[in-house]
């Protein structure tokens, strides 16, 4: 059972405050969509509006072409996994799973196999008679997902389900949810503030900021071609370096940008730029290199701090004109704090943003 979810100019107002400003979005059947953004960007509100827990102030929510604004949550064919899991503390795991079906008026004989099936999928069969307080964080998480599965919904909603787990378990559950999605094939919408979760799980990432969509696309599209400075800074870890610069000259097939005390020639024309216009140069730490073969020279950097992680080495450095630049070098490197390191970059991985933050 897969379903498409379409948002048409969806708005949310609390009194006079606009929280969501007319969002248009299409989620295809069977897709794993991830809403990502900083806290307060409206991603949870948007999810709760789809769930029917918040009223939609304007626009339409369509599921499989049907308008859902006025349909109560339980009849939308949706199941939701909450951040706090929201397991009923006074019921056993079995009862927690069965509760929704009981409420819907299913008979005991119909409920039993569905609960058992969900328990099998999530490997929580031995826990069925326990109360939630006797479960670990990861087990509670599984029960919460199980409660969603038994109802055989058309659409799964996840509201930051992993944020209460420790790092190791988070990775494990991330993989399990991705596997579950492959196994069930349902449409899923997942909210997180963690861009790593978004990158690893999503078919489609929706980056939200201040109640607006900044960019929608596949994970690598967002990584390689961010259309906004915000998206560029949000996707990718460690964060992209942003260097202030100005346009030195521009021609039909080349643009020269002055940044970090160097003139950098890009072999392409940029849209709507003129000389002396301030721009921001975006370079990902992993696209900076200290070998000459690495491309164009940016500057000689003063290294403030070196972090050796084994598989990579992180440098926190400053350019000659005092801008902070981080570098991520592959493998182990012998670099000392306070030393000077040349930085080169590949022109293909250079992003330029105009004064309003859009990519040019």
């Amino acid at each position: 059972m897969t379903t498409s979810v379409v948002l048409e100019k969806v708005e949310k107002r609390y009194g006079v405050f606009d929280v969501i400003h007319g969002i248009d979005l299409q989620t295809d059947p069977g897709e794993f969509a991830v809403f990502v953004g900083p806290s307060g960007c409206g991603k949870s509100t948007l999810l709760r509006m789809i769930a029917g827990l918040e009223e939609i102030s304007g626009g339409a929510l369509m599921m499989d072409g049907e308008r859902m604004n006025e349909v109560v949550s339980s009849e939308r064919g949706i199941a939701m996994v909450f951040q706090s899991y929201a397991l009923y503390p006074h019921m056993s795991v079995y009862k927690n799973l069965a509760f929704g079906l009981e409420t819907a008026g299913y008979k005991k004989a119909e409920i039993e196999p569905r609960v058992q099936q969900a328990a099998r999928v999530l490997q929580i069969e031995p826990l069925l008679q326990r109360k939630p307080k006797a479960l670990s964080g990861g087990q509670r998480q599984r029960v919460a997902i199980g409660r969603a599965i038994v109802r055989e919904p058309k659409l799964f909603l996840f509201d930051e389900p992993l944020s209460n787990l420790d790092a190791e378990l988070r990775v494990q559950m991330r993989v399990e949810i991705a596997r579950l999605h492959r196994q069930l094939g349902n449409t899923m919408i997942y909210v997180t503030h963690d861009q790593v979760e978004a990158m690893t799980m999503a078919d489609k990432i929706v980056v939200l900021n201040a109640g607006r969509i900044e960019q929608v696309g596949r994970p690598l599209d967002l990584y390689n071609h961010p259309v906004k400075r915000f998206v560029a800074g949000f996707i990718g870890s460690p964060k992209m370096n942003f260097l202030e610069g100005v346009i030195e000259s521009t021609s039909a097939d080349a643009t020269v940008i002055r940044a970090c005390g160097a003139s950098i020639k890009l072999p392409r024309a940029l849209r709507a730029v003129e000389s002396d216009m301030p721009v921001t140069l975006g370079l990902r730490p992993e696209h900076l290199n200290r070998e000459e073969t690495g491309g164009i020279k940016l500057a000689d950097l003063q290294v403030d701090l070196v972090e050796n992680l084994g598989d990579e080495t992180l440098l926190y450095a400053r350019s000659p004109d005092g801008q902070t630049i981080n570098m991520s070098l592959a493998g182990e490197q012998v670099i000392f704090n306070g030393s000077t390191v040349p930085a080169f970059f590949d022109i293909a991985h250079c992003h330029v943003f105009g004064p309003d933050g859009t990519a040019i």
Partner: protein
């Protein structure tokens, strides 16, 4: 070396001193509790000593055990005392049921449902806490008189089913607000109506506050003297408290032995009721299913 010596010296002194302080403290507490308990013990001893000795002896220990007061008390009035116990029990149990059901429903509405003027009505309800019972007594009496309810238990019981006790409502609202809203939302996603959420989620998670309300309802109704005095006239309808009052006669033929014996008996239900419900008070389970 010196610091070591000082430490060992301190160590040898402090336990002895704390033992002395604790001894003093406990003695003081025991004296205070005896003072507190004295009237109760006096009543107990008065109920089992010969009636002539009640006001003449200062000792708590009776010269002889004489249980005849219990028999005299039980049968000494026009109506057997068991009838009063029965009346009190009926009123108290109905009041407990009424308070728990009605107040929890009202509290659920105030805590969780959205309706016009919710805050206004909540403030009004809290305002009723400040009105003394005696202020509304006369209009209330007139109302019940017109309804023909005087000399029945209805004026004492029916209001309890209409959530008149703002104190319990307030107590429960505070408790319900502490139950995570996500549980309601999860239940809504599971297809629950507001009624079902109340019944299946809120009530089972609220046993501590329900037990508190039940205990206090029972105590207050069982001990209530004023309400029954106003509304109950026929001796067959009397509660225990009114029955006890009947032992004291203005013409001078009071049965003190019976009074104290029945007073002692009247404590028994309260004792057991408390014993049973206080277990439920101890631990709330409301938040244990959630990771905080």
């Amino acid at each position: 070396m010196t610091s070591l010596a000082i430490f060992s010296k301190d160590d040898s002194i402090s336990p002895r001193r704390s033992r002395f302080v604790s001894l003093l403290f406990h003695t003081l507490l025991m004296v205070v509790s005896i003072i507190m308990l004295y009237p109760l013990l006096w009543m107990l001893s008065a109920s089992i000593r010969p009636e002539a000795e009640i006001f003449s002896s200062t000792s708590l220990l009776p010269s002889a055990i004489d249980l005849s007061s219990y028999w005299k008390g039980w049968t000494g009035l026009r109506v057997e005392f068991g009838q009063f116990f029965w009346n009190s029990l009926v009123i108290s149990v109905l009041s407990v049921a009424g308070n728990v059901i009605a107040c929890s429903l009202a509290a659920y509405a105030f805590a969780r449902l959205k309706f016009a003027g919710r805050n206004f009505w909540f403030a009004i309800m809290l305002g009723t806490l400040m009105i003394p019972y005696h202020v509304t007594l006369i209009p209330q009496y007139v109302l019940f008189l017109k309804l023909g309810w005087v000399d029945t238990i209805l004026p004492l019981v029916v209001p309890k089913f209409l959530a008149v006790d703002a104190f319990f409502i307030f107590l429960m609202v505070q408790f319900f607000r502490g139950i995570p809203r996500e549980l309601d939302e999860a239940a809504r996603m599971d297809g629950c109506s507001a009624w079902r959420i109340y019944w299946k989620i809120m009530l089972p998670l609220s046993t501590p506050v329900l037990a508190t309300a039940a205990i206090f309802s029972f105590l207050w109704t069982w001990d209530d003297f004023f309400g029954p005095l106003i509304y109950l006239n026929d001796m067959n309808n009397y509660t225990v408290q009114l029955g006890l009052r009947s032992f004291v006669d203005s013409s001078g033929s009071s049965q003190w032995g019976g009074l104290f014996a029945m007073s002692t008996l009247s404590l028994v239900p309260v004792f057991f009721f408390f014993l049973f419900f206080q277990r439920l008070l101890i631990e709330g389970i409301a938040t244990t299913g959630l990771k905080r």
